[in-house]
Symmetry: C2
Subunit: 410 residues, 2 copies
């Protein structure tokens, strides 16, 4: 498993992984009230039209439009008020020539009525009579049956992540259960002899496990369910045993390597042996995160991340998040959160490599300024101090101060 | 409670509400692994420095820098290899003049060492001797104690919503529990005689409750806990009884009015009577959502939303979400998700009123195009088809096709 023989660009590397994986999302039926953030497994069709009955869009009087023709302030039409349309029920009467009925916004048009006159254009004369001061056309101030959504219409395509608006839309159609992609189980293994759990007292030479927790949180934001397998010592047999267990129990396995080159080699060897076809990509032309491993073993993705916490989180955003999305069946991605900003200083970069730089956003009168956040050792607090990441494309030798950049929020 | 006597702009209206409310967020201590999305109640200070020990940033040999001075490929320095630094432990040896030790990335510098030579600039001579082909300066390839974070340094301010990077950062410092703002309980009441729950069969004239569900989902995305009080008939005593109960049990109460003007008046009257100071704003100069009510009753915010599902969701984003954020103690908002796009067509608007228009984003070669999504009755599916909202400022008479706009993702 020699590292870095052939470095792929992140985009090519992801393509190779997803192409080999060709996953079929698993589907489950859940209650709509629990479906926020879940992904539709099939298109949703309207079981009935919206509105389901002809509704008034204003407060006023339901009329026969023909009865109002020619009406004006100087020459009003006089109509007999035969009742009030109850909210939430079918009116018990119908209109004949010369008749009208009081109606509220959202009320159901009585039989015989074909338009509504706004209350502002009417004047009460006697308890049972009203002056109409303006003519209305047929269907004026009326929503016809199916005008918003016709019966059988596709209202939500498959592969859509449900937001508050979609949850409301499903309820408008009485759809209280629906099929969604199952949330992928993501096994997370930390390795490194120097890594210990945060509950433990630190001895000299030891550092706390960061990756298990930051990656678990990232997996949750992407819609996956993290399962932590703890910290595994940098020995082949221990790492292999835990990886085999995680691969059997999860839909996707993420292993963060120890920080030394030998620990990374060990991770690659263990992943290669987990099942065919094995390692597809070993080394990606990106900074941070060059020693990334992408593999498919027995039909499941296995991703080896660098041990450095910033590299691990950046690379997980590039590779783990898309796999979680694909496993949920997401195909209709709402645009990612991107803010356009002006770079505060020059960012040099090596041509042919993609760089990701953490930036803080400052809101100024003229728009956002992106200010790079540097940290000598790429400590996790470099990201904690940042609002997002700026991508320096492989073709560039860097970005200039004052240049407009897209900041991907983290 | 006459409506619309004085219309405030959304921003002024929100300011008036928050100023009167002046809430004190309630605090609870929780486990860091459960803290994703929660808001820090106090600043977090580093209990120890990071790194906690001098660490190598490369694979190579720990040396005394002075022993390498003058070393080059043609005239290497010869050093005696006295051991290998174990990962995760303190080396059991110290370096004397002319000695070095094998060290891995992240390994702890042995006593006596003050720099590391990368393995690429060394050559093995004998098992216990190595050629150093390049001189290193003191602390070269070494991270000193506290170089990233010094002891006692503020690493996360108060009022920050925790993302994966902060969760990782807390763990790096062994902080497994922390104080966060309690998640506000948000009581949601739907009213309207025409509104029925989605489990029920629809009779003519009835519509399903959308707002309870779309607002619950929105409350969750903002970090609140929704509590639904169901659908209340448009009668003062029923609405008052449920509102009193919700106000006692929750931190914030949201009431969506029935669609008719009389139902809206009823909501305003009931809110006014819930407790002092009562209604602060009745009517906001915004479309959709003019009949909005903002109140503070007994120290808690009560917000009356229009019954139309699109208006309710847009207005809740403008007023309910900020109150939830303030109640959690959020003061350090990461920039909201905004995408810059080019408007596809003219959007007329009335000067002096703020308009919010739902748009779909199309990704083209030259950037995003914002295409307005129109729906005759502002049905909830208008929003479900949209990616975000564009604000037309009160001073504008509209926006022109081709204009660059900010799209607030929903």
């Amino acid at each position: 498993m020699p590292e870095f023989l052939e470095l792929l660009m992140p985009e090519e590397a992801l393509h190779k992984l997803l192409e080999t994986l060709s996953p079929t999302p698993q589907v489950e039926e859940i209650e709509t009230i629990l479906a926020l953030g879940r992904v539709t497994a099939s298109p949703v069709f309207a079981p009935f039209p919206l509105p389901t009955f002809a509704r008034s869009t204003v407060d006023g009087f339901a009329v026969r439009a023909a009865d109002t023709y020619g009406a004006s302030e100087s020459l009003p039409a006089y109509l007999k008020v035969i009742g009030e349309v109850p909210m939430g029920a079918s009116p018990a009467f119908s209109l004949s020539v010369g008749q009208c009925a009081l109606i509220h916004t959202g009320g159901m048009l009585p039989a015989g009525a074909d338009a509504v006159v706004m209350v502002e254009y009417t004047q009460a004369v006697r308890p049972e009579e009203v002056e109409i001061l303006r003519a209305v056309a047929v269907v004026e101030n009326v929503l016809k049956v199916g005008e918003d959504v016709s019966i059988g219409q596709e209202v939500i395509p498959a592969g859509v992540r449900l937001r508050p608006a979609e949850i409301g839309g499903l309820m408008a159609l009485g759809i209280t259960r629906l099929s969604v992609g199952r949330q992928p189980l993501v096994g997370i293994l930390s390795s490194g002899d120097e890594v210990v759990p945060p509950e433990q007292e630190l001895s000299p030479g030891q550092v706390y496990d960061v990756n298990s927790y930051s990656l678990s949180a990232l997996v949750q934001t992407a819609g996956g369910v993290p399962l932590c397998y703890g910290i595994v010592p940098d020995r082949a047999e221990a790492l292999r045993a835990t990886a085999v267990k995680a691969l059997a129990e999860c839909d996707l396995v993420v292993i963060t390597a120890g920080s030394s080159a030998s620990a990374r080699d060990l991770t690659a060897t263990v992943i290669q042996d987990l099942g065919p076809p094995g390692v597809l990509v070993h080394g990606v032309d990106v900074r941070p995160g060059k020693p990334t491993i992408l593999a498919v073993c027995n039909g499941k993705a296995v991703i080896g991340l660098p041990g450095n916490p910033v590299s691990a989180l950046v690379i997980a955003s590039l590779f783990v998040v898309p796999v979680i999305e694909v496993l949920q069946g997401l195909s209709w991605a709402h645009p990612k959160s991107v803010i356009t900003a002006r770079l505060s200083l020059n960012l040099p970069s090596q041509t042919g490599r993609e760089d990701w730089v953490a930036v803080r956003l400052l809101h100024k009168m003229e728009g956002y300024i992106a200010e790079p956040v540097f940290g000598k050792s790429n400590l996790i607090f470099t990201l904690a101090r940042a609002d997002g990441l700026v991508r320096i494309p492989p073709a560039a030798t860097g970005l200039d101060a004052g240049e407009i950049v897209e900041v991907f929020l983290i």
